[in-house]
Point group: C2
Chain length 198, copies 2
DNA sequence: GTGCGACTGGGACGGTTGTCCCACTTCGTC
DNA sequence: GACGAAGTGGGACAACCGTCCCAGTCGCAC
């Protein structure tokens, strides 16, 4: 019998829950499945968390927090805006391909949050964070390419997020790498035309 | 006791199931909830369908089929491409606002299909249909505006679908009409720049 | 080393789920 | 009007769910 403080157990359970959701979907993320994944007994679950709902809430919060360390563009001198955006999209695609189940889990968690009024704010926060991240990246990109957006950058950011979501969904469905890359290039092309030399 | 042939019951149950999924999510679409929504007894369910899975499969197929009658652009003389695309996006937004739960249900059904290998093809078909529809609309739009795409139209179509999905997800989360409209306009702007006068 | 609070294991609870069974009623056909 | 097939109702089943309880065990402060 290994004794683990409750705080550590919470973290371990959240990690286990994310693995279960990624692998089998949120519907299969039962207390028993999570506990088995974490190698604990059922009692430990309700010692660390009041309820499954509390675990799921923390899971969403945690996972959104982690998303911060995301796809900040890495910049190569001489690239124009289209190149930078394209590189960004392609790197995101790599990230998606490397761990598709994680992105699928994120989508499922969002949908799940949307279904209950108390959890809805978690989804809102998630998207606010995405937008903020995108905005920051777009500003860096424009500065580096020495251009300026002729549409408010928040709107370009929302466009970027919307497009990334759509791309994710589409790739998860058809797993067509070539198509996804082509579309990413087209998106970079289209977005880059919303800026002009300053 | 009203006697209804099995075929009609199947249709009625599918309709009821769609209402339940829209209102409460797929997780709540239990045999009992569906049967209650349809005003039948539990036995009628398993008289019409072998299993709940069979019902869900038929539900996805049905709902994808209906999507055909979708957002074909209505054209006003003198509009340029950007105007047509913008009008299309805004009309889709109206459609989304009018019945958000339906689009949310569609997303949930897609995710659900993605989770089992046997159902995966249903999701693929769904997206193939979206792409086909978008391609058709884009060709009409370009012809009407007397321009031609300088990116293959299938790619513009995939881009359009991705934008629409992302837009849907984002609006479902924050329900921010103004933001969605602004993004729709920006998207129309960006997409229209992928074509030029022929 | 003693005591107390933190942690554990296993079993049990009531509720819900998908599915099934069987006696029954209605309908169309002859 | 008899009859078989089609359709119905209600209750039952085992499996699973989230949660709870409780007797027990460990670690740590004193």
């Amino acid at each position: 019998m290994v004794r683990i403080p409750a705080a550590e157990r919470r973290a371990a359970l959240i990690d286990a829950a994310l693995r279960v959701v990624s692998r089998n979907g949120i519907a299969q993320a039962t207390t028993r499945a999570i506990v088995a994944e974490a190698g604990m007994s059922l009692a430990s679950f309700h010692y660390a968390f009041d309820s499954r709902d509390e675990l799921i809430d923390e899971l969403i919060t945690t996972v959104v927090e982690r998303e911060r360390e995301a796809v900040i563009p890495d910049l190569v001198p001489g690239q124009d805006l289209r190149d930078i955006l394209e590189a960004g999209f392609l790197r995101y695609l790599d990230h998606l391909r490397a761990d598709p189940e994680h992105e699928q889990a994120m989508l499922e968690l969002t949908q799940y949050a949307l279904r209950s009024p108390e959890r809805h704010p978690l989804a809102v926060r998630q998207y606010a964070q995405y937008a903020e991240l995108a905005e920051h990246s777009l500003e860096i990109a424009a500065a580096h390419a020495e251009v300026s957006w002729n549409v408010p950058v928040e709107q370009v950011a929302r466009l970027l997020v919307a497009f990334s979501d759509g791309l994710t969904l589409k790739w998860l469905v058809d797993r067509d790498d070539a198509a996804a890359e082509a579309v990413a290039r087209a998106a970079a092309d289209a977005l880059s035309r919303l800026a002009e030399a300053r």
